[in-house]
Amino acid sequence: MTEEEASTIDKTIAEKASKYVRLAEGKLSSRQLKKIKNKKLKGTLDRIEKVSKEAAIKAARSELLLTEEPGYLEAEGIEKTFNITQKHLRENVDEDSAKKIFDLKLPTFGPYSLDYTRNGRHVVIGGRKGHIMSFDWMENKKISEIHLKETVRDVKWLHNELFYAVAQKKYVFIYDHNGLEVHRLKKHIEVNKLDFLPYHFLLVSVGNAGWLKYQDTSTGKLVAELRTKLGGCDAIAQNPWNAIMHLGHYNGTVTLWSPNMSTPLVKMLTHKGPVKAIAVDHTGKYMATSGLDGQLKLWDIRTYKPLQQYYTRSPASSLSISQLGLLGVGWGPHVTIWKDAFLTKQQSPYMNHLQAGSQIQDIHFCPFDDVLGLGHSYGISSIIIPGSGEPNLDSLEANPYQSKKQRQESEVRSLLDKVQPEMILLDSTFIGKVDKASKDLLDVERNEEQEAQRDNEGKWVPKNKARGKNSSLKRYLRKKQKNVIDERKLKIQQRIKQEKEERRKRIMGDVDDKDRPKALERFSNKKRKL
């Protein structure tokens, strides 16, 4: 390799590394770093800088290992990608991929909502009229199927494919992979939507009463019950980056919630009509909302500013953002996929799909696969959306091909790595940072805490201490007496020992043979004996 080649490679890596560089907050420039006089500090900071730079470069270099690349539909000449239907695709793709396009016609129990596991292997579907089924969609293997004969509003997988939660007519229930009811969550009443935070093991529900409830599924504790005060809620989404819940309300606002705060962290007015659906990008940067006012809006949730807005013919009922940032919009019987929608205004969608004669209820992109699952009034269907799923998977994070053992191990590991609910904040990198509140405020808070502690303790009652019992003289005498052996003491000691032994025997029921009633004793004359 010549020098030039090496330099070009270095350049490309440096370019790539720029996305791995973690920006520091504040205005500490490298020049200021050089000005630090404390040599030791300067040394540490230099080392830190060096490490972080190296980490970025190494990460960029390791991109080499990501062998797979996402592929998109590419139109030639006059062709348009949105004209390519699933039928076309099925004819042209390989057999394995063609299998991913399928329909489950379940007209009696619809409309269906569905959910993929985190590794994208399993699906659970829930028909409104009480039909629940979980299956491995890759192998077309049914795992469990139950009929609840009760309204089912939403279904959600928990941390792996062994458990799923179902929002039923009144309560939320948890079922295992055999379809057995494991828990009934009585506190979650009339729930419309469910969500699950996998790193925190929190099941989140929101319903008609407008209460947002967080239940820890590892400990079973109800972590937080938050009153939204905004009426029933039918739109929920989690920000996977910081585990903040986004709720959409009837008055057109979207509120951001953390279990640590009784009021919303952020409240944004997004629509003029009720919010129908929300989706958040997995990088935590963008949010899409659709409202009954017929608008579809895209937001930057770092700045809370609108990016783009579109009108929909009829209000979008469901939104989903894929791992690679494709935006899926379900409206009426249609599903439209938009590519690169957040940064530039798109003129035409990437793909279209028409589920003729039905209403789309729920759409979900399948993780790690180019598949979109639709739940509609006549069952569910699966369609191929090229370039939607992440092609390179981290098997330690989510592995679609995991064995039983791997699943068990990952479960244990994830439980060990469980993140506490107190750590849910808008800025998820806050841990370990310096509290920048003013000193006065900190003092006030400390005082309050102390007072609260005092209140908890109750009134102080003086201990009945036997003062003077342990004076130095007495201790001395005691010590002195230890060595003194006199007859009386010995006698007393012996007696005490005896008594102890007797007591022990009495308690154990181990009475001496003499005392024990003998078999023929009942016939003997007791008086005589006396």
Binding site: R22, L41, M268, Y304, Q347, F430, L441
Partner: protein, 964 residues
Amino acid sequence: MGKKKITKFSSKLRVSFDENSIKTSKNLEASLATNSKKSQPKNLSKSKQRRNSNKIFGNDIFEIEQETEHERRRKNIDEIESYEYVGVDKIEKKDDEEIDSDEAFNDSDEERFEHFIFRGSNQKEIKKRLDEGIDLDETDDDSGEENESDDDDKLDKEYQEDESRITGINVEGFVGFGDSDSDKDETDEEIKALIEDEEDNDTQEIDDGIKADNLASFIGSLDKKRKRTIDDEMNSFDKPKKQLKERTEAYKESEYNLATRESSNIRKKIDLSDLIGSIQEETGFSGLKQKLASLESGGNKGTYKEPLPAPLPLRIQERLNRRAAYEKTKKDITKWEPIVKQNREAEHLKFPINAPLPHRQTNNVLVATFQPSTEFEKEVNSILAENGVKEKNLQQYEELQMSKLSVEEVEKRVKELRKMRELAFREEIKARRIAKIKSKTYRKIRKKEKNKLSLKQLAELDPKLAREEQLRLETSRAQERMTLKHKNTSKWAKQALKHGHHNLESRQAITEQLRRHEELKRKIHDLGSDEELDDSSSENSDVENEDDIDVIKAKAFDELAQLEQKESGNEEEMKGLFGMKFMRIATEREKRCTQGMIDDFIEDLENEENATKEVKKEPKESSITHVGNNPGRMVFGRSIEKSISEHKVDIKKLSKSIFDLESSPSEESKEANNQTESINDYSMETNFEEENPWLQTDTSKILSSSKKNNKGIINENNRSDKMVSKLKKLKQGDQSQDGIEIDIDKVLAIGSVQMAENKSNEKEDSSIPRSDDTTNEKSKFKSVEEISDDTPDVETNFVHAKDSIAFSQRELVARAFANDNVIEEFEAEKQAIIEEDEPKEQDLTLPGWGSWGGKGVKKPKKKKLVLAKPLPGGIEASKRKDVKLQHVIINEKRIKKAKKYLSTSIPHPFETYEQYERSLRTPLGTEWNTQEVFQKVVTPRIITKMGTVIDPLNVLFPTSDLDE
């Protein structure tokens, strides 16, 4: 008991003892025997020490002793202070007589003080007596203090007996001893203080002799002081003792009187003459005398003059030793510094340090020693061997090849090689020489040259890239032109022009600016060297295309046309001399002549090619037309008629579409509308595009200019203008009917109505000020539209919110939610929250305090407010994070549950939180890092290898050794 007693005396008592002894001296001797007996019963209750002294020294002494110790001490101190300066003259010689030691210590004393050990005196005698085995009563008193009280009577008796035994008491000797003893103690203390002082001041390097002198003098002064005080005491309350004055005899010299008493200022030292004085008188010591004489004179035999200084006290000696040792070790220890520093700075320390690396074989070694061991290797080897691919064979082959060459060829090769080497060498030298040049200007020039060259080369190599580069340059040039930095319009330039004539630098700068201006102008022509550009530059630029005849012709025509124009221009100007008739006629004639020549020329050209027929007319018409009645803006080389007609069509279409909208907003005629509008936009833009090729790169500029263009057109067509305004009014009416307030500045308020409004506004002179954002958005949107317009909009399911189609949709929606005052409610909520979060001030005014009460008291107009600091925790409205976001409420409350994950202060090595947080930003876990980085990050600072002996640190290059 004697010794014990002495040691038991407190120093004070001893002092008093001395005092007494000095004062009483010898004349007490006689009286003591009687007096002591008298005083006996009085003293019984006193402490033993006191009794002792009393018994010895009698009544008068006892009177002194009556004073409390405290008093005495105070007095002592006072007197010392006062007498040092004041009472010097009071002291008389007779008061401080010195007593002969021989006299002072008699046999009787020896008996009495048998058990006292007199340092350096008659120890022998004491010994002798001990040998003789004389037991004295005092030995019985060993039982100690406990028995004191019991034995008091007994003791008293003993003392009486003792005293009866004493005939001529001379306490002097004893006194002398007591004196010296106490002296020593005190001086020791003083020395200590002195030393401490010295230590503090770090002036240890004082000569020993000086020190000793100091010491001696100090001791002397102490004596003096004491004596003075004592004398004074005596004077003060011992008037009858004045008889002592009469006793003026000198004390006799003895060993016990070595520490001399000095009178007032004169220091009396014992001289050698003092010592040998007695010898002088006697005979028989001639040899000794001579020796001493030589010693004294310091003449021939010895140089001895001064006695050797006394050695320093042991402690000081030791301290000096320690200091020296410290210096030495300090120096020794510096050799560790580099290695310790290195270890401290090291990121990791791996023990054992400097362990020998495991031997690693190089590839060459491996290859050389390779022996095929496995079957596979053997197989491969055999195959290679079969085909003759062996290292040896290859080498041989190469050698053979070389040997095949003829001698000449080899020579040639060698020559070539030599030449190449020579060239390389020269090149190297040249490069070195150039590299040495330090001139900045040279570097600058060279850099420029290089760049220029590179652009040219680029054009040859990669035309596409070159074009891009050129485009970049062009834009930069355009920007330069826009900013007018090169013109003399800036403040500085004006100043410089005004005042800077004398300043060489500023003049240079101005010329530089002018040059730049010129350059820029010229370059623009260079760039746009198309047919319709200026003549002078195009001549230069088109030199290469000279073979193109058409171009030359066109140029010629242009020239002609311009000539004509010039003339026509001149016609109007003719005044004065040229305005006269004959002159005019003459010029007319001349002109005709030239016109004829021109015509001939043109005809000639025509004959050559028929195609130039049209051209013949054109130049007269002039290809330049003004745009929009604006003399400053021109369209070149293109007939304006066409464009105007186009505009007209557009405007017709526009008005038509607008009317359509107006008449039936709910109808589905939007597509047509959309199309027409887009076409309208497009046509306008494309018009301009063709006209201004060098502005093409920046779309926003196009847009802005197109807007201007629009304006111009609209000015021309007042009719369309009116229609648009009419429409606008109508729409506004509609809006007011709907009752929806829309603020354009708000980010929230998005709707096609506004957009339409905006559009109409743009077409007119917009009276409503718009925020930059909206215009930007608009422009962006437009540009996107421009791109997309060539593809038919097949998909109409999703419509851009800003499209005109949304107009009706928006209206419908607005009607549907007309009752929900969502925005107002939201704003009210936000306002409430802002107010709630504002920092609250505490009003600490107490009613009635600080003001007068009662009848007829006026209330102060200004009520004084006692305000405490605002309570912590609030946030001002202007500092909120959502100040600029009207559609967002951000919660500013603190999350207390998260507090436990925050640090309350900046951890140790860091000084600011920025530094600290910088250290936090790179995560350490495997989830975020590659394995390599992770392992590096979590490596402990000290790594020890299990089962190895870790040697103590050793110095590789001890620096101190090198020094020595």
